[in-house]
């Protein structure tokens, strides 16, 4: 292809055309810098977004099934209030699933069903939904699912004043999330205890200055903090006190592992309401991520949330359903697909009116953030495209110069039979080659920079005399993984834009009248 070899010859710098070579070098450098900047920026932004997503979905699963109003109005939900087998108490999803009876009502024992009561139709929506999820798991072994419950109670903790050792109390209205042992992120959000996190009475459990958390088999003496046996979470229960995991910010308030306290909630009876108390012991701390209620959310055994649930109903402030089923998948990008698959299965099983499936992009607490991420991404890509267009337009001036310089050669080529298209291609290729070269240089530079991003951030922090990036927003370290989405964007956009920029001089070149140029020689 002679167009390619000519384009190559034209782009190789020569002594006699030093000015063209310099401009060409400058153009390549400018585009490379822009490519570098775009890659670094988009990679860091995409990394931060990924981190936030991980934090958002670490406590809450990427996909959630929540019961609809129709479920709460259904016979299967309501009947427990009338059935002695259910202790005349409404049941949570988990209790319904575990109950051996789909219909606890007994005509012999229970009062007659009132005429306005919902009619019994179809299959048990809870058991059937779990069956559908179990079938789905056969096709996708990587998915995990478990029911969850959210309750509310007043957490009271007995503390010792760090200053004088005098007793003090901490009271905090808290949300209680049932422990979801199936959560694959559970291990990663739990903060490994250090001896400093322990109450003084528990120091004897420390082995060689380390609080062991992972065990291969059930330990003879279980530690008084949260631990894992072959990856399975255990909340140690001692002295009949309910184990509680608290968000990490409680540590700053003087709460330690081993701190005692209680969960207080109101339970209504026929005549009055009474405060109930559950004695608790703190067994560990976790990172709540960026959940809006994260810092007020304690993790407790499911029996605790059920006990509170049976006594009163909890409303979450952001509209998050207080009872439902979490579904986890390895890859967050699969969440939408997984949701569709679940919806289609529920539809086939005629359960779709009882359940609402939602992905993390639709969750009440993350919806706005997700929308913001999406519009930020579009905005950043648009800005990146504009900067790239400006940088690539440099190519126009260079190639116009080149066309003027090569007028005679263009005319000679035309005299040999080169078509307008071929002549235009030469300069279009020149543009695309410059774009490709700049893209390569910029990408290599970006890879190098990302690899040494920590040093760069340290340098920036040193110059400013304070941390350049707030860890609360950006994490301990800036993400330094190259975003393949960004790389794909520059790999396609840069040569294309450079080619497009090369088209203007290319059209100019193809319009050269060879007879005029050759006559003037």
């Amino acid at each position: 292809m002679f167009e390619l070899s000519l384009a190559y010859k034209y782009l190789v710098p020569k002594k006699k055309s030093l000015s063209t070579a310099l401009i060409s070098l400058m153009s390549v450098l400018v585009i490379s810098l822009v490519v570098w900047l775009v890659l670094i920026f988009l990679s860091v932004i995409s990394g931060i977004e990924k981190n936030w997503l991980q934090k958002l979905t670490s406590l809450h699963a990427p996909v959630r099934l929540s019961p609809t109003e129709k479920y709460y109005n259904s016979y299967y939900y309501q009947i427990d209030a009338l059935a002695s087998n259910s202790n005349y108490t409404l049941k949570t999803i988990g209790e319904k699933y575990q109950s051996p009876l789909s219909d606890p009502y007994s005509t012999d024992l229970d009062a007659e069903i009132p005429p306005y009561w919902p009619k019994k139709t179809g299959e048990d929506p809870v058991k059937e939904a779990f069956n559908e999820l179990a079938d789905l798991k056969k096709e996708h072994p990587e998915i995990l699912f478990q029911d969850y419950e959210i309750s509310g109670a007043l957490l009271r903790l007995n503390l010792m004043s760090p200053a004088d050792g005098a007793p003090s109390f901490l009271s905090q209205m808290s949300y209680l999330l049932s422990l979801t042992e199936q959560n694959p992120k559970l291990r990663s959000i739990l903060i490994e205890p250090t001896p400093n996190d322990l109450d003084s009475s528990l120091k004897k459990f420390v082995e060689n200055g380390v609080c062991r958390i992972d065990f291969e088999s059930e330990p003879e003496t279980p530690p008084p903090w949260v631990y894992f046996v072959k990856g399975e979470c255990r909340l140690p229960q001692r002295e009949n006190r309910t184990p509680v995991l608290l968000p990490k910010n409680y540590k700053e308030g003087g709460v330690r592992i081993g701190t005692l306290g209680s969960l207080n909630y109101m339970a209504s009876s026929a005549a009055s309401s009474q405060e109930q108390k559950i004695d608790v012991r703190i067994v560990g701390f976790y990172d709540p991520g960026v959940l809006s209620i994260g810092n007020k959310c304690a993790i407790v055994p499911v029996e605790t949330t059920r006990a509170i649930h049976a006594a009163n109903r909890t409303f979450s402030p952001d509209g998050t359903p207080t009872n439902g089923i979490f579904v986890w998948t390895d890859n967050l990008t699969d969440a939408a697909l997984l949701k569709k698959e679940i919806e289609s299965r529920l539809e086939k099983a005629e359960l779709s009116s009882y359940w609402k499936a939602a992905t993390f992009e639709e969750f009440e607490f993350s919806k706005d953030l997700m929308l913001q991420f999406r519009s930020d991404r579009t905005l950043f890509l648009l800005i990146a495209a504009i900067i790239l267009i400006v940088a690539c337009s440099n190519v126009i001036s260079l190639l116009v110069l080149l066309v003027n310089d090569k007028k005679k050669e263009i005319a000679i080529l035309q005299s040999m039979g080169a078509s307008f298209k071929s002549i235009a291609s030469i300069f279009g290729i020149c543009g695309a080659l410059m774009g490709a070269l700049s893209c390569l240089l910029g990408s290599l530079l970006a890879l190098f920079t990302l690899r040494h991003l920590d040093s760069l951030v340290s340098f920036l922090s040193y110059i400013q005399g304070r941390s350049a990036f707030n860890p609360a927003f950006f994490g301990k370290a800036l993400p330094n993984e190259l975003s393949y989405e960004a790389l794909l964007f520059v790999l396609i956009a840069t040569p294309l834009l450079s080619f497009a920029a090369g088209l203007i001089p290319a059209i100019k070149a193809s319009r050269i009248r060879p007879s005029c140029v050759l006559r003037s020689e």
């Binding site: 002679f2 070899s5 010859k9 020569k14 005679k408 050669e409 005319a411 000679i412 080529l413 035309q414 005299s415 040999m416 039979g417 080169a418 078509s419 307008f420 071929s422 009248r513 060879p514 007879s515 050759l518 006559r519 020689e521």
Partner: protein
């Protein structure tokens, strides 16, 4: 018939209207050599460019080997049927002699092997200069490379614009010999624009171009 040009008119409007060709008709058969003589500025080069489809006439028709020239097929006709030889050689300076010779084949997406290029250079006695950059060759050598390049796609028609104009006597004679050998031996059709009367005498037909009119000269 290799070339048939009928009723060609051409005038330039800038800076003032000048009629360069007025009702010019010309034809050339295979193995013919035609000289177009005239003073400088009479339009010899323009006529040659029009005959070679580098420029469109204001009116009139041109057929090359039976194919009528139009603005859309000019490049193809030039590449397939016409070889140009210019007074100022017009080689591509950044390429070697061999690359210059093979360029028409590469433009036409034809076979462009080194052997083919060397064979063409051998015809003009420059085989040993194959890998020389074009800019380092002497004037005579450049013109011989230009002739080899004109022959690359085995054209029927050679159009030479003052092919010996920039050369010394010895080179002039050599170039003339090469050109007329091509006519005699390879039956190429040669049309040359020249005011070198010695060169013109070697042609089978000689035309004179004056005030836009072409007339057969003695």
């Amino acid at each position: 018939m290799i070339l048939s040009a009928k009723n060609l008119f051409k005038s330039f409007k800038e800076p003032q209207r000048v009629e360069v060709l007025h009702d010019v008709s010309l034809s050339a058969s295979q193995g013919e050599s035609i000289a177009i003589c005239g003073r400088s500025g009479e339009g010899k080069t323009t006529l040659l460019h029009i005959l070679g489809t580098l420029e469109e006439p204001d009116s009139g028709t041109i057929e090359i080997k039976g194919k009528a020239f139009s603005s859309s097929n000019g490049a193809g006709l030039r590449n397939e049927h016409i070889g140009f030889i210019f007074q100022s050689f017009n080689l591509l300076d950044d390429f070697t002699a061999l690359e210059n010779v093979l360029m028409p084949a590469r433009i036409g997406r034809l076979s462009a092997t080194r052997e083919k290029g060397l064979a063409l250079l051998k015809k003009v006695g420059l085989e040993e200069r194959a890998d020389f950059p074009a800019k380092l060759l002497s004037g005579g050598e450049k013109q011989r490379v230009a002739i080899a390049r004109a022959l690359c796609n085995d054209p029927d028609l050679l159009l030479a614009d003052e092919p010996t104009g920039n050369l010394d006597r010895a080179s002039r004679e050599l170039i003339a010999k090469i050109l007329f050998d091509l006519v005699k031996i390879e039956k190429k059709t040669l049309i040359l624009a020249t005011h070198d009367m010695e060169l013109a005498k070697l042609c089978t037909r000689k035309y004179s171009l004056s005030s836009g009119h072409v007339s057969l000269a003695e």
